[in-house]
């Protein structure tokens, strides 16, 4: 009964979203305030209905209702409760429901925190989000119903994919989806602005915090996924340029460009058309990511739904949403004003160059991801594009982008003097070059890539230090006062940029200095790596709730002193009959020691892989710093709604008249 109620609730939500996607937009075009006023309550009702449906599915999982096909496919009575609940989004149908739920959360959030936005604008924004919701709900109800019954009911479920039975699975998808779907807000703002013809600084200011929030979620989501891959896949990698990773990375790159472009639009009134295009692209790439994952067009560990009907539905949806918005863009963008002029050497130019580099990087990732498909479609053979392509293309694009990142914040708006910039940056340049040469030589391995990576990391550190010194140094206030004298969003920028430096440093060191060995070990055998002695203590059998494990123990000593004990595991999940590797990791600021069990060999021996991963944790710590920087920017006083009087001055009419006055 409960699944039927959930199903019915989804149908009602579809009806509500149909009204939400039509009446407020038409109302905004006709100036009908009653129709526009529908948007806010409908957003709330839609959220309640979808959340209720979601809870119904959670209920079915928690109470093991194997008469629901989706539950029977993705759960099992032996699966622990927390994974049974995470299994709600462990398969195709449920992850779509999570998508729809998150979209409705964003929609209701926009409806609640948009008091300063003029009524017609808000009606359009919520209407556009309602239309997106229509697409997803239709998709679910037509070809991916999570509540479909299985009659007769299965005795027990087929279990959740063991790869996904991990705490990381509980957080990674919701975070990622919050990011993906969050870009729908920036998208809806852009479409609303194109429809209403009000692209201006106020529009950029409204959509900026939403974009940053989505970007934070996406950053943390990607980080969590990378971290999960590191300890769950058991071969020490943390990024594979897998099609689905790329699908999340492309919106991130474009979203990063969008955040910076929005800043320029807000502060200087420039880049408007470009900003709108980026907002459309960020969300389009999120949708494309969904298509790639859900249609099975590309092979990937992530692709768990291969049904051509679903693929065609999503593709049609993509054409309507992305094609429609790009058409609207082509039609309306030429009417957008040009904004403030700027010199070739200015902060605007640097930001524009960075933006272009990020967009080109996203395009190159897109090309690499779809290239096998292009060739296959043209009957030119089957190939796979792997890390060599991405490394070769990505690094040359990112290197200048990161270099410009050091210059941009120091340069002045509108026009900057090159000699003055050079003078202010010469110390930073000298320090980073020196570090890039000396540090690798001290560590005993110099390659051009290590040199470049270290140079870029220290370049960002040094230029950021210069920036902070310049802002804080020239004042008589006490230190805390000086810190507070700068806005939180400025500090957010500083921390996020430092996060990039930490990230680049981590990537460079771990790529340049990691080492690994694969050995056959009998109990008592010792392997040596990076100055450590790894003694294999053997393997004991353990029984988990739904798996049988061979639990290994390796104790690690250096010069006879015990440093740590690694406990890698090899599990066999009994329901799906799938073997899984759980790496034994000792994480540390300086380096990770990492061991994973391979196959059992004759006579109690095991093949064991041992990795020494210097500074790998910095990769994820850098991501967290970026996210924290974004968080600080959100906490900026400008965005605090309550303390400000509801500013009636930014109504669309006032903006329009001020535009006329400028012209």
């Amino acid at each position: 009964m409960i699944p039927e109620i959930g199903h019915f609730s989804l149908i009602l939500a579809l009806l509500v979203s149909l009204v939400l996607g039509s009446f407020p937009i038409i109302g905004a075009a006709r100036g009908n305030t009653v129709w526009m006023g529908l948007a806010k309550p409908l957003a709330g009702v839609q959220f309640v209905l979808i959340a209720f449906a979601f809870l119904c599915l959670v209920y079915a999982f928690a109470f093991m209702d194997y008469s629901v096909l989706y539950v029977a496919n993705n759960s099992n009575s032996k699966l622990p409760l927390q994974f049974r609940i995470a299994a709600v989004w462990g398969g195709h149908e449920g992850s779509l429901l999570l998508w729809a739920l998150i979209l409705s959360i964003w929609t209701v959030a926009v409806s609640l925190f948009s008091k300063r936005i003029p009524d017609d604008m808000r009606a359009r924004i919520l209407g556009v989000m309602g239309l997106i919701s229509v697409g997803f709900l239709l998709f679910m109800l037509m070809v991916s119903n999570p509540f479909e019954r299985l009659i007769p009911a299965a005795l027990d479920g087929r279990d959740l994919n063991p790869l996904l039975q991990d705490p990381g699975m509980i957080f990674h998808p919701p975070m990622l989806y919050m990011g993906y779907v969050g870009f729908s807000v920036a998208f809806a703002f852009s479409i609303a602005a194109l429809l209403g013809g009000q692209l201006d600084a106020a529009w950029a200011r409204w959509s900026r915090p939403w974009t940053i929030l989505a970007w934070i979620f996406l950053t943390v989501g990607i980080m969590a996924g990378s971290n999960w891959a590191y300890y769950e896949l058991g071969w020490g990698g943390w990024w594979f340029w897998d099609a689905v990773e790329n699908a999340s990375f492309m919106p991130w790159l474009v979203g990063t460009a969008l955040i910076h472009s929005l800043a320029v639009t807000e502060k200087r009134g420039s880049f408007k058309a470009w900003t709108v295009l980026l907002a459309i692209c960020a969300f389009s790439l999120s949708l494309l990511g969904t298509f790639l994952v859900r249609s099975g067009v590309l092979t990937s560990v992530h692709a768990f739904a291969t049904d051509p009907r679903r693929g065609i539905f999503i593709l049609a949806f993509l054409v309507v949403v992305i094609g429609g918005s790009l058409l609207l863009f082509a039609w309306r963008a030429s009417t957008v004003g040009r904004g403030g002029k700027f010199d070739v050497v200015s902060r605007e130019s640097f930001l524009l160059a960075n933006n272009v580099l990020l967009a080109v990087a996203a395009l190159s990732v897109l090309l690499g991801t779809l290239y096998p498909l292009f060739l296959d479609a043209l009957n030119l053979g089957k190939i796979s594009v792997g890390p060599p392509y991405f490394d070769a293309v990505f690094a040359p694009l990112m290197a200048p982008a990161i270099f410009l990142m050091g210059v941009g914040p120091i340069a002045r708006w509108k026009e900057a003097a090159l000699p003055e910039l050079a003078k202010r940056l010469r110390w930073a340049f000298g320090i980073s070059i020196a570090t890039a040469v000396i540090l690798p030589l001290m560590l005993g391995n110099f390659t051009p890539m290590i040199g470049l990576g270290l140079f870029l990391a220290f370049w960002v550190f040094a230029t950021t230090a210069e920036l902070v010194y310049q802002r804080l140094g020239k004042s008589d206030l006490p230190l805390m006062g000086r810190i507070k004298a700068n806005s939180r969003s400025w500090w957010g920028m500083v921390i996020a940029h430092l996060g990039i430096a930490v990230f680049v440093l981590g990537v460079t060191i771990v790529k340049g200095f990691e080492s690994e060995i694969a050995v056959k070990m009998l109990p008592g055998d010792v392997a040596h790596l990076a100055g450590y002695d790894f003694t294999f203590d053997g393997v004991v059998d353990r029984k988990g709730p739904n798996y049988e494990a061979s639990h290994g123990q390796i104790h690690v000593t250096k010069n006879g002193v015990l440093r740590t004990i690694l406990e890698p595991e090899k599990r066999l999940y009994t329901v799906t009959n799938m073997p899984m590797t759980e790496a034994g990791i000792s994480p540390h600021l300086i380096h990770d020691l990492y061991a994973s069990l391979g196959e059992p060999l004759d006579g109690g021996a095991w093949s064991v892989r041992i990795y020494h991963k210097p500074m790998v944790e910095w990769v994820w710590f850098g991501c967290l710093m970026m996210a924290f920087g974004g968080f600080l920017a959100l906490a900026d006083k400008r965005y605090r709604l309550k303390k400000r009087a509801p500013s009636k001055e930014i109504t669309s009419k006032a903006v329009k008249s001020s535009k006329k006055a400028k012209a």
């Binding site: 790009l326 058409l327 863009f329 897109l366």
Partner: protein
């Protein structure tokens, strides 16, 4: 206006490829066994462990060789299709129960119906290795001379039956 159309044009090209991509199977790897003799084996039958089944028994007939298991999820999808095919009776279907236990396999057939003329039991999966089984279910079309003519990776669907398997079997039977 014209410059603004560039993103749309790029998008439409990508859509064209994505559409085409929907009808391609990235997992479709040509099997090296196609055109080669089906590997020989002799395995106990599910209904009677005392008697054995060997591909030699089928020489002179065109037959389908379906690898399945009671633990296999996708087999659930293809099972009714196989049952229907066997009712039509125009091609013998031999099953191989792969890495499975007898009671569970028997229960599966009792519940879902038995489409197989014979089920051979490959309890430890050795024969599976000879056939290059890397995912269950897999189905082979084997001709009168005992050569593998076609390999279907993944469940047998109505479309695969109609478009590939049945025409192929008819052609081979006519030879």
């Amino acid at each position: 206006m014209k410059r603004g159309l560039i993103p749309l044009a790029i998008f439409l090209i990508v859509v064209g490829f994505l559409f085409k991509g929907l009808f391609l199977d990235p997992r479709e790897v040509p099997s090296p066994l196609v055109g080669k003799p089906a590997p020989q084996f002799s395995l106990p039958r599910l209904d009677n462990p005392e008697t054995k089944f060997s591909p030699k028994d089928m020489l002179g007939k065109v037959w389908l060789f379906n690898v399945w298991a009671s633990w296999c999820g996708a087999c659930r999808d293809e099972h009714p299709i196989l049952v229907e095919l066997s009712k039509a009776g125009f091609v013998p279907v031999i099953g191989m129960d792969y890495k499975d236990t007898r009671p569970e396999a028997q229960q599966w057939l009792d519940q879902g119906g038995n489409p197989y003329n014979v089920v051979a039991v490959d309890a430890d999966g050795r024969v599976g290795i000879d056939y290059g089984v890397y995912g269950v279910p897999e189905t082979y079309v084997i001709d009168k001379a005992g050569m593998i003519a076609y390999k279907q990776i993944g469940p047998v669907t109505y479309d695969a039956l109609r478009d590939k398997i049945i025409p192929l079997v008819k052609r081979l039977q006519a030879q």
